[in-house]
Symmetry: C2
Subunit: 360 residues, 2 copies
C-alpha cells in the first residue's frame, strides 16, 4: 500500500491518457469515449475496482477480439415503451450508455422506458448508467450479471455473479441519490486486498471450497450473498439482476459466462444487461417530486447517528470522494501505474502529467 | 405456542369466514374480496404476520374510518405506459390489485406498465400483487413504505418502515419465482415472538434506544437494516421502496405516517405504494424466456448445498407451505382464534368449521 510514493494526477490528465490509449489501440471514437467515461466514473467516485485500473484489461479484450473495436449497435426489436438493443459485442459501457439514452427517450414519451441489452460485455460500474439517467432528470435503474463468484444461501459452490443493482434519482439543487451495490456481501477485490495485507476478513462474507464461512482470505473460494444469516435475501436480489440481465435478453446465465480473466480473450462472452428509466413528472407534478426528495434527504441526513458515526444517503460518500479527487487529483495503485507506463510506451501516448503541487 | 390445541381449519373455511366478516362489517364487495384474497395469500404461504391475523385490525380501521368501506378508485392521471391511481383511502389490497391490473394492461400494450398508488392504506403482503402479475404471465414488482421501525446504517432512531420489495416472475410449467422481502434484517413480529419465548435474538438484527446492537428482545427499540456490517445496502434498498412509494406518489414518507397500531383509527394515513409489470415477450420471444427461467431454476435447485442444508429458489419454501396447508389446513394462533370468536359473535358469522380428521 505504498500509494503515497505514486505521484498525484489530475482526473483530466488520467481521462486524456485513458481515451488516447483506447483510440491508439484501435477502438473507435464512441467506444473510446464511453469506456473512458465509465472508468472515470469509477475513479472519480472512489470505486477504484471499476475505475481506470480496468484500462489494461479492456485493451487486452479489444485486441483479443472478445470485444468489438467498431461495433454496429442496433435496436433488434421495439414494442411500445421497451426495446432490445443488440450491442454487436461492443464494450459494455458503450452499450449501456446507448441503452440508457434509448430508455430515457422512451420514458420521455411513455413515462417509463426499458431496454434489454444483448451481446454486450463487461460494463464496469453499474452506477454510471443510472447516474446518466438521473443527470437528465430521470430515475435510472441498471442491472447486470457476471461470471459466477457468489454461492447461494446455504450453497457450496459459485453460482451467481456479484450481480449489481443500481438506482439513481435526481434531486433538485443537489447531487443525485445514487445506489450502486453488489448483491454479494463484499466485492472479490476486498478479498484480494485482505490477502495482500494478511488481514482477517469480516465474518459471514466469504466461504471456503465447501461453502463454509471463513475469515481467511487465502482460503476464500467464493463470496457469500448479502445478508449473512439472511443471505436468502441477497441471493434473491442477485436473482433479480440475473433474470433481468440474462433471461429477459436471452443471454448467458452467470454460470455459463466465460471468466472475465481469460484465458480466452478472443470469444465474445454473450452477456446481457438491463436498463430502465422513469420520468417523475409522468407520475406526479415535478414540484411535488422535488419537494419529496428534498424532505426525505434532509430528514435522512439529520437523523440521529450512533455514537461516533455518521448517517449518509446512498452516494454521499461517493460525491465527497469526487470533490476531493477533483480538487487534489488521484494516485494510481502501483500495478496500474506500471501498466500505464507499458501502455504509454506501446501506443506512444504521453503519460498523465503529475501535479506539480507538493504531495500531501 | 400451544398451537396444537387449536383445531385445524381448511383454507376455504377460513377464507369464507374472513370474507363474510368484512362484508358484515360494512365493507363493499370489492374491498371484502381483495382484502380477503391478500390475507389468504399470507396465510396460504406461511407469511402469517400478513395473514388472517390482520382481520380484526382491518375491521377496526374500516369501522374507525381510517379505511374507506366503499371507495371510489379513479385514475388520477395517465401518461403513456404509466398512471397514478387515486385509491380514495381504500383498503390497500383493493388498491394494489386494481393498480396491478392496470399495470399489466399497460404492459400488454406497451411492454411495461407502472402505476403509482395515492391515498392508500396498509396492503398486507407485497408478494400478493407481484404474484397476481406473474399468474397473468407478466413480471410483477411491488413496493410500499410503512411507519418508521428501522434505523439507518449507523443511525440511532427509527427512520424507514420495513419497506418491502417484491418481485415475481412467471415460470412455464411451474409455480412463479417469488421474492417478497422486508428491507429490514428481520420483521418486528420476530422480535415480539422472541420476547414471548424469552429467547435471544440473532446478532445484528435489532438495536436498543441508542441504536446499539442488542440480542435482547425486550430492549429492542428498532430494527437494523438488512446487511449487518453492510447495512448501508439494506438502508438504501429501503430508500428505493420509499422513493417509489412516497416520493413518486406525493404521499407520506415513513416518518410522517401515523402508527399502524393507532390510537387514531379515524384519520386516513395517506400512504403510497407502487407497482410495475413487464411483458417478457416484448423483450425476447416467449420460448427463449421460458427456457431461460427453466434452466436458471434447474441449475439453482441442483446447485451443491452446504452440509445438511438445502438450496431453494425464492418462493420454494412458500409453495411448499401452501401445498401442506391446502392439504392439511391451518391452525390459528390463540390470539387470532379468540379474535375470530369475538368477530363471529359480533357479526353473527359462522366460525370456520374444524376439520373432522384426527389432528396430527
Amino acid at each position: 500500500m505504498n500509494q503515497s510514493l505514486e505521484p498525484r494526477l489530475t482526473l483530466a490528465e488520467v481521462e486524456r491518457f485513458t481515451f488516447d490509449v483506447l483510440l491508439a489501440a484501435g477502438a473507435d471514437q464512441p467506444t473510446s469515449k464511453a469506456a473512458t467515461r465509465a472508468m472515470m466514473h469509477g475513479t472519480r467516485f472512489g470505486v477504484d475496482s471499476h475505475g481506470i485500473r480496468l484500462l489494461p484489461h479492456y485493451v487486452q479484450v479489444l485486441n483479443g477480439g472478445r470485444v468489438n473495436k467498431a461495433p454496429n449497435l442496433k435496436v433488434a426489436n421495439r414494442f411500445g415503451a421497451v426495446a432490445s438493443l443488440d450491442a454487436d459485442h461492443a464494450h459494455g459501457a458503450l452499450a449501456a450508455y446507448e441503452a440508457m439514452d434509448l430508455a430515457t427517450d422512451l420514458a420521455d414519451q411513455f413515462g417509463i422506458g426499458a431496454v434489454a441489452i444483448r451481446n454486450t460485455s463487461h460494463f464496469g460500474p453499474a452506477g454510471a448508467y443510472s447516474l446518466h439517467a438521473a443527470e437528465k432528470g430521470f430515475l435510472g435503474i441498471t442491472f447486470c450479471n457476471s461470471d459466477s463468484f457468489v454461492r447461494l444461501h446455504d450453497g457450496a459452490e459459485r453460482f451467481h455473479g456479484t450481480n449489481p443493482i443500481s438506482v439513481a434519482v435526481p434531486v433538485s439543487g443537489d447531487a443525485p441519490w445514487l445506489l450502486d451495490m453488489a448483491t454479494s456481501a463484499v466485492p472479490f477485490n476486498r478479498v484480494l486486498l485482505y490477502r495482500s495485507l494478511g488481514l482477517a476478513l469480516p465474518p459471514a462474507v466469504a466461504s471456503d471450497a465447501d461453502g463454509v464461512d471463513t475469515t481467511d482470505a487465502n482460503a476464500t473460494e467464493m463470496l457469500a450473498p448479502l445478508g449473512a444469516a439472511f443471505g436468502f435475501k441477497g441471493a434473491a436480489l442477485a436473482g433479480v439482476a440475473e433474470i433481468f440481465s440474462a433471461v429477459l435478453t436471452g443471454m448467458r446465465l452467470s454460470f455459463d459466462i466465460a471468466p472475465m480473466g481469460g484465458p480466452d480473450f478472443a470469444t465474445p462472452r454473450e452477456m446481457g444487461a438491463f436498463v430502465l428509466a422513469l420520468k417523475p413528472e409522468a407520475f406526479v407534478d415535478r414540484a411535488t417530486f422535488d419537494a419529496g426528495m428534498q424532505r426525505y434527504l434532509e430528514q435522512l441526513r439529520g437523523s440521529r447517528p450512533r455514537d461516533g458515526e455518521d448517517v449518509m444517503a446512498p452516494g454521499d460518500r461517493e460525491w465527497r470522494v469526487a470533490r476531493e479527487r477533483e480538487a487534489a487529483g488521484v494516485q494510481l495503485d502501483p500495478a496500474t501505474s506500471q501498466a500505464f507506463s507499458a501502455l504509454a510506451e506501446q501506443y506512444d501516448v504521453r503519460l498523465p502529467k503529475p501535479i506539480d503541487a507538493p504531495a500531501s
